[in-house]
Amino acid sequence: MTITLERPMVRRKESPAPQANGGQYAIETNGLNIYYGAFHAVRNVEMKVARRKITAMIGPSGCGKSTVLRCFNRMNDLIPSARIEGEVLFQGENIYADYVDSVEVRRRIGMVFQKANPFPKSIYDNVAWGARINGFKGNVDNMVERSLRGAALWDEVKDKLQQSALGLSGGQQQRLCIARAIAVEPEIILMDEPASALDPIATLRIEDLMQELAKDYTIIVVTHNMQQAARVSDFTAFFSVDEQRTGHMVEFGPTDQIFTNPSDQRTEDYITGRFG
């Protein structure tokens, strides 16, 4: 699978020309603040997500880590009251710039959700649909097989591609959602607690898959499971929440460092389970 990292966003003639440097990071945020109406949900996130690495976002409930994740592919646009300040740079380009179309952002920055949400269609159509609507031309059968293999699902479903996706188990459905996401050839895959509804075995399979996928894709994963973050991620961001219920990033660094030698007391309290 070829991935062009320095591919700028589609732009109109009058839009500014792409930067010569495509940006060192997959995602880089500058002074990111997120509001829901008058509520200040997340403040001042400064995050630099390395390419083709797994970055985990951990923190207590309500700390805004999912909110930040959804900002990375403009899913928050779908919530009418949501508003952001600051920049989210995707390979050096602000995805909230006027000339950027959220449709292209979401195509290039895919998402896997907490609860597996396959379309009520056949397994085949689940994978093929995203590619088709994005103008895929070529051999759809091959593309579907490639994507399902990429999501380590091919062997389990190759004989029942035309059956309903809703008949699969929870873990299979989630891997189908991953297959569906990689079928549109994104550069980043965002995962919002992808294994939280799965049993331990299915969770392990998803984790193995994430490490496999990190060879080709940048992965950002939100998780409540600290062992999971420690097991799979290269970098970890710890989020916390203050008295006004505003989330913020406390610490960000290599996973080893966050889990063995955190620089912030709050991080240490949380990962050692002393968090109140």
């Binding site: 449709v103 895919g110 949400n117 309903s164």
Partner: protein
């Protein structure tokens, strides 16, 4: 004293003996409510049974038939009427009816082209001319047979007693007539079908379109909230008011269009807007709010995870709506549409205002025809003084119910196919 101890021991959870009695009391309360609800259901069932009983008992029953001319007297040289040849029957016809009527029959279809059955029918209808002199309900026919026979013998010595099903193939295939025995509902049935067709063609796309706009595109601002409130209120407006609206807009203002004059299908000087098109559009307006509200509910019930899945793959809003939201909500939308159409089929008041014809013997042949519909036909028959028309009305009600059930059944089938298709099977 006991009150006091109870009050003292009444703190906290009740003691064992007290508790078991309390449980028994709570269960009793529950049983009483269950009985109340059962009674409520029973009232509904009784009402429905009474309705059906009424219709059925009127639709079937004994009739006393009297012939104007005894068929035996028409026998030619000992051959009874039913075995005569076409030429002999034609001679009888010529001898017994006026020249003018004969010419009219000749104009309808020349006698040379008619077969024997057609001529035999004319003889029966115009010469023998059976008349119903008395009718009885199914109930009377079954339980008071002897009294009926005695009554006939006394009052109508020439009459023949005969069991008649007022709903019969002839009833469905004949046009309206002032002679009860020949009257049928074909015109009204076709009128109803045409009107419903126009109603669906108008209200379904417009209603679903409006629902999609309101749910998926419209911002939450005062204007859109006002529109929403108005739609909700419109669903409760009495139907006769829609009739007034239809009269003002479709029949009067848009007359050139609804009469077909604009398309050259009607003579502009005699055209009027009291057509199937006007009626269909009026009923469409009537059910539009219901379709919109039901479709909105159905669209709202589509899980947001499905939408997010679509958007997350880089789909545009329209692609998400078209490929996921609409197919998923279609069973719900169809359910609402079925209910609305059932209502439209039974509407009478707005069509009276629009000016549906009460007596019309010509089948409608398109959107620009004059028309009558089943409910109006029923209404018209019930307002006649003769007993026979009450039987006709009951029979027409059965036809209307059958039409309703057929349309509903086909819509339900369609909906179920959609549900299965959605599961991806």
């Amino acid at each position: 004293m006991s009150q006091n101890t109870q009050a003292e021991s009444g703190v906290g959870m009740p003691k064992e003996a007290e508790y078991s009695e309390l449980v028994a009391r709570r269960q009793r309360q529950g049983r009483i409510w269950a009985m109340v609800f059962q009674a409520a259901t029973l009232v509904g069932i009784l009402a429905l049974t009474a309705l059906l009983y009424n219709i059925v008992t009127e639709s079937f029953g004994l009739v006393a038939l009297e012939n104007e001319v005894d068929p035996i007297s028409l026998a030619v040289r000992g051959i009874p009427l039913e075995e005569l040849s076409k030429e002999q029957l034609q001679t009888i016809l010529e001898a017994n009816i006026s020249a003018g009527l004969l010419r009219r029959f000749e104009n309808d279809q020349p006698f040379a082209e008619r077969d024997r059955e057609s001529v035999y029918g004319l003889v029966l209808e115009r010469v023998v001319e059976p008349r119903i002199v008395a009718t009885w309900t199914l109930q009377e026919s079954l339980f008071q047979r002897e009294q009926i026979e005695a009554e006939i013998a006394a009052k109508y010595p020439n009459a023949v007693l005969e069991f008649r099903s007022w709903v019969n193939p002839n009833f469905v295939s004949s046009t309206q007539s002032s002679v009860p025995i020949q009257a049928g509902v074909r015109t009204a049935l076709f009128g109803s079908l045409w009107v419903i067709l126009i109603t669906i063609l108008f209200a379904f796309p417009v209603g679903v379109g409006a629902a999609i706009y309101l749910e998926e595109y419209a911002d939450d601002n005062p204007i859109n909230r006002l529109i929403q409130t108005n739609i909700n209120n419109l669903a409760g407006v009495p139907s006769i008011i829609y009739g007034m609206l239809g009269l003002a807009i479709f029949v009067r203002t848009m007359q050139p269009l609804t009469s077909g004059a604009l398309l050259g299908l009607a003579d502009a000087s005699t055209a009027n807007g009291r057509t199937i098109l006007s009626a269909g559009l009026t009923l469409g307006l009537l059910i539009l709010p219901m379709i919109i509200i039901n479709a909105q509910e159905a669209i709202r019930a589509v899980p947001s995870t499905l939408r997010q899945a679509g958007y997350g793959l880089g789909a545009t809003q329209w692609q998400v709506i078209w490929h996921h939201v609409l197919p998923s909500s279609m069973p719900g939308i169809l359910t609402g549409t079925i209910l609305s159409i059932s209502r439209a089929i039974g509407e009478t008041a707005p069509l009276v205002v629009i000016g549906a014809s009460t007596f019309i013997a010509v089948d409608p042949n398109g959107p620009f025809s004059k028309f009558t519909v089943l409910p109006i036909q029923i209404y018209q028959w019930t307002s006649r003084p003769q007993d026979e028309f009450r039987n006709l009305a009951a029979a027409a009600i059965l036809v209307l119910l059958a039409l309703l059930l057929t349309l509903n059944a086909s819509a339900v089938l369609l909906r179920n196919r959609f549900s299965v298709a959605r599961a991806g099977m």
